[in-house]
C-alpha cells in the first residue's frame, strides 16, 4: 500500500517528501517493458549498457555512503532507477564506458554532493545524459546498429522523408534503447494506476508540447506528424518518468500543471528552433531550475535599510587626479607610437603568410581599385542575412611573374564563431575554384572548434568549384560541396562554411 505522494498543502516547502522504496520498485517495473524490448531488438550490447549503467549507479552510491559514513541508501532503489533511466536514454551503439561515467556523474555530482536523496535540484539521470552529450558528442549521436547507420525518425521528418508511423510507435526504428513508444506508454499508464505518478505533469507536458509543435512546427497540426513527434525524441520517457521525479518537480497540483506546460513549451522550442534532436533533456533540466519559483508564492519582503554617509567634496583631490591621468595618457601615447609600426608589420606578415598559403604560384599580390570600390559599397553591414554575421574584409589579386592574374584571395570574417570572430582567407583561381582556405583569426574552443584550422577540415574545401558549400553535421559527406562538420563543433564549422560561401557569393557578383 503506497503512501499517496500528492501533498496538497500550499507552498513554500523547505524540503520535499522522501520517495519510498515501494514507489521506486513500481517505477522500475514500469520501465521493464521498454528495457525488455530494447534488449530484444538491440541484443547483448544493449543489455550490457543497461547493466553497466545500473551497476555503476548502485556501486557509486554504495561507495560514497561508505566513504562518507552515512547509512546505506541503496536499498531505497533510487540509484537503480537513475541507472536504468540513463541507460534507456542512450543509443545502443555507445561504448560501455559512457553509461559508466554518466551514472557516476549523475549519482555523485548531481545527487550525493548535494546531500543525497531528496536534496538534488536537477534530475540526475537527465543531467548525466547531458553531461555525456557535451563530453562525447559524436558517440552519443551515433545510432548505427551492426555498422549500419540510418536516420532517426525525427531526423527523417526534418529532412522531409516519409516515416513509417506504426513501426515507430512499436519501436522498430533507429533510436535509443528505451525508444519503444508503446512500451513506455504501458509503463506510464501502470504508474498512473498504481499512484506512483499523478496525471498533471505528463498531461500538461504532452498537451502543451503538441500545441506548440502544431503552432510553430513545420508540419503544423498534421496528426501523424504530431504523433511522430510525441513518440520520438524522448518525449514519452520525459513526460512519464523524468519530469515526474518528485524531488525535482513542484509540490502542488497547480504547480505541476504549470511545470508540465513550461517543460512542454521548452521542448517544443528546442525541437523546432534548436539544432540537435535533444530537446527534451535540456528542456526538463532547465525547467528543474524554475521549480523553486513555481513552488514559492511569496510576497517581496521589505528591503533592509542602510544609513549612508555623505560624499566628501574634493576639489584639490580632483586636480591631483587630473594630473595623474594626464601623465598616464602621455606615457600611453609614447608606448603606442613605439609599438604601432610593429603591430602593423605583424598584421601584414600574418596576412602575407595566409595569402601565400591559399594562392601559391603567385609572384605578387596587388589590390584592385574596381574590386575595392565594390567592397566599400558594401559598407559596414553584414553581407547577407542568409550567411549570418559575415563581412568581406578585403580582396587582393594574385599576379604571376608576367603580371597575369592567376587568382584572388578574399579575406572574410564571421562573427558567428562559438567563441568570437573567425577571420579567414579564401583563395580562388580564375575559374572560381577554391584553392584553399587559411585562418588569420581563430580562437574557438581548444580541441573542438580549433580543429577547423587543421588540414583535415580545411582540405575539404580545396579543389572544389561550387556556388555554395553545405555543412553536413552528421558526417559522411558524399558530394564535393558537402563539408563534414568538426565533431562537436557544428557552430564553428557552420560559421566557417558561411564565411566561405560569402566569399564565393562576393566573387560571383563582383569579381567574375
Amino acid at each position: 500500500m503506497n503512501e499517496k505522494l500528492l501533498n496538497m498543502s500550499s507552498s513554500p516547502h523547505v524540503r520535499h517528501r522522501l520517495t519510498t522504496g515501494a514507489v521506486m520498485t513500481d517505477v522500475t517495473l514500469a520501465l521493464l517493458p521498454a528495457a525488455v524490448f530494447g534488449i530484444y531488438r538491440y541484443g547483448i550490447h544493449a543489455f550490457l549498457i543497461l547493466l553497466i549503467s545500473v551497476a555503476s549507479a548502485v556501486v557509486t552510491e554504495f561507495l560514497y555512503d561508505m566513504a562518507a559514513k552515512k547509512p546505506l541508501t541503496i536499498k531505497d532503489g533510487s540509484a537503480v532507477v537513475t541507472g536504468l533511466l540513463l541507460g534507456l536514454s542512450l543509443s545502443p551503439a555507445v561504448p560501455l564506458y559512457l553509461p559508466c561515467l554518466g551514472s557516476v556523474f549523475a549519482i555523485l555530482f548531481v545527487k550525493c554532493f548535494f546531500g543525497g536523496l531528496g536534496k538534488n535540484f536537477m534530475n540526475p539521470a537527465l543531467t548525466g545524459r547531458c553531461f555525456l552529450l557535451i563530453s562525447f558528442g559524436s558517440a552519443m549521436t551515433n545510432f548505427s546498429v551492426d555498422g549500419v547507420s540510418s536516420a532517426t525518425p525525427l531526423a527523417a521528418l526534418r529532412a522531409g522523408e516519409a516515416v513509417n508511423l506504426s513501426q515507430t510507435v512499436l519501436g522498430y526504428t533507429t533510436g535509443v534503447i528505451g525508444g519503444s513508444a508503446i512500451a513506455l506508454l504501458i509503463g506510464g499508464i501502470f504508474l498512473l494506476i498504481t499512484g506512483g505518478i499523478t496525471f498533471e505533469i505528463p498531461a500538461a507536458f504532452i498537451a502543451s508540447f503538441a500545441v506548440f509543435m502544431g503552432l510553430f512546427g513545420d508540419q503544423g497540426f498534421d496528426p501523424s506528424s504530431l504523433l511522430l513527434h510525441i513518440c520520438g525524441g524522448g518525449v514519452l520517457m520525459g513526460a512519464f518518468f523524468m519530469a515526474t521525479d518528485p524531488v525535482t518537480s513542484p509540490v502542488t497540483s497547480r504547480g505541476q500543471l504549470l511545470y508540465g506546460a513550461v517543460t512542454g513549451i521548452l521542448s517544443g522550442l528546442f525541437r523546432v528552433y534548436g539544432s540537435s534532436a535533444d530537446s527534451v533533456s535540456y528542456a526538463i533540466i532547465i525547467a528543474n531550475m524554475t521549480v523553486p519559483f513555481i513552488d514559492k508564492i511569496s510576497v517581496p519582503k521589505p528591503l533592509g535599510y542602510r544609513s549612508i554617509s555623505g560624499k566628501p567634496q574634493f576639489p584639490k583631490a580632483a586636480v591631483n587626479l587630473t594630473i595623474i591621468t594626464l601623465c598616464a595618457g602621455l606615457a600611453l601615447s609614447s608606448v603606442y607610437l613605439l609599438t604601432k609600426d610593429k603591430i602593423e608589420e605583424q598584421k601584414l606578415a600574418a596576412n602575407a603568410a595566409s595569402y601565400k598559403e591559399v594562392c601559391p604560384d603567385v609572384e605578387s599580390f596587388v589590390s584592385d581599385d574596381a574590386i575595392n570600390t565594390k567592397i566599400e559599397a558594401l559598407g559596414d553591414g553584414i553581407y547577407d542575412e542568409k550567411f549570418g554575421k559575415t563581412f568581406i574584409n578585403n580582396v587582393v589579386v594574385g599576379k604571376d611573374a608576367a603580371d597575369t592574374t592567376v587568382g584572388y584571395v578574399i579575406s572574410v570574417s564571421s562573427g558567428d564563431g562559438y567563441d568570437g570572430t573567425i577571420t579567414l582567407s579564401v583563395g580562388l583561381d580564375t575559374e572560381g575554384t577554391v584553392l584553399g582556405i587559411s585562418f588569420t583569426e581563430l580562437h574557438e574552443t581548444a580541441g573542438m572548434g580549433m580543429l577547423c584550422g587543421e588540414d583535415a577540415f580545411r582540405s575539404q574545401f580545396t579543389g572544389v568549384n561550387t556556388d555554395a558549400f553545405i555543412l553536413n553535421k552528421a558526417g559522411g559527406s558524399t558530394a564535393d560541396n558537402e563539408i563534414d562538420s568538426v565533431s562537436g563543433a557544428s557552430t564553428s564549422s557552420g560559421a566557417v562554411v558561411n564565411a566561405v560561401n560569402t566569399a564565393l557569393a562576393f566573387y560571383a557578383s563582383s569579381i567574375r
Binding site: V14, F113, F114, G115, I285, L303
Partner: protein, 193 residues
C-alpha cells in the same frame, strides 16, 4: 520589433550567457546569490548600469576614439566612464529617491569592478555594433545576468547545507550548482530563431 535586435537579446541573455558561458561577473554572482530578493535587486541595478554604460561607451568609441584614432585607449576610457557613471547614478538616486537608493544603491559600488560591465563594452566594440545594437546587447547581457543570479538564488535557498558533505559546504556546492546550471544552459546553444 526588428528581428535581429530580438536575436541579439536572446543570444546575449541565453545562448552566450554572461556568467555561465563567459565567466564575467562571477564574484558578485557567487556572493550575492544567497537570497532571491537581494539577487533581484542586484539584477535590476546591473540592468540599469550595463544598458546605460553600453550606450555611453558605444557613443564615446564611435564619436571620440575612432575619429581621433585613439582606439587603443578604449580600456582606460571605458573603465573611467563606468566608474563615473556609477558614482553619478548613486548620487542621483540618493537625492531623488531614497527608497530606491536603499533598495538598489548599496549594490552600485559593487558594479564598478564587475567584469561584466567592462566586458560588455569591450565585446560590443569587438562585434562592431552600432549604438542601438550596443544598447540592446548590453540590455540582453544584463537580463541574462539577472536570470542566472536569480535562478542560482532559488537553488541556494533550497540547498540543505547540513546534508551537504563537509568538504563541499560553502563555496564548492555553489560552484557545483553553477556547473549544473551551465550544463542546462548549453541547451540554448545552437538555437536559431
Amino acid at each position: 520589433m526588428n528581428t535581429s535586435l530580438l536575436l541579439i537579446i536572446i543570444t546575449t541573455a541565453l545562448v552566450n550567457n554572461v556568467v555561465l558561458s563567459q565567466f564575467l561577473g562571477i564574484c558578485s554572482f557567487l556572493g550575492v546569490s544567497k537570497q532571491i530578493k537581494t539577487s533581484l535587486s542586484l539584477g535590476v541595478a546591473v540592468i540599469f548600469v550595463i544598458t546605460l554604460s553600453s550606450g555611453v561607451a558605444s557613443l564615446l568609441y564611435d564619436f571620440l576614439l575612432v575619429p581621433l584614432h585613439l582606439e587603443y585607449l578604449e580600456t582606460i576610457v571605458f573603465i573611467l566612464v563606468i566608474a563615473a557613471l556609477v558614482q553619478i547614478v548613486e548620487m542621483f538616486l540618493k537625492k531623488t529617491s531614497p527608497a530606491i537608493y536603499n533598495a538598489l544603491g548599496i549594490y552600485l559600488p559593487l558594479i564598478t569592478t564587475n567584469c561584466a560591465v567592462l566586458g560588455v563594452a569591450l565585446t560590443n566594440v569587438q562585434d562592431g555594433y552600432n549604438f542601438i545594437q550596443s544598447v540592446t546587447a548590453g540590455f540582453g547581457t544584463a537580463v541574462g545576468y539577472t536570470i542566472s543570479i536569480v535562478l542560482l538564488a532559488g537553488i541556494r535557498e533550497r540547498i540543505d547545507e547540513a546534508s551537504v558533505p563537509l568538504p563541499f559546504r560553502g563555496a564548492p556546492v555553489v560552484l557545483l550548482s553553477a556547473a549544473l546550471m551551465s550544463i542546462a544552459f548549453m541547451g540554448f546553444a545552437g538555437l536559431s530563431l
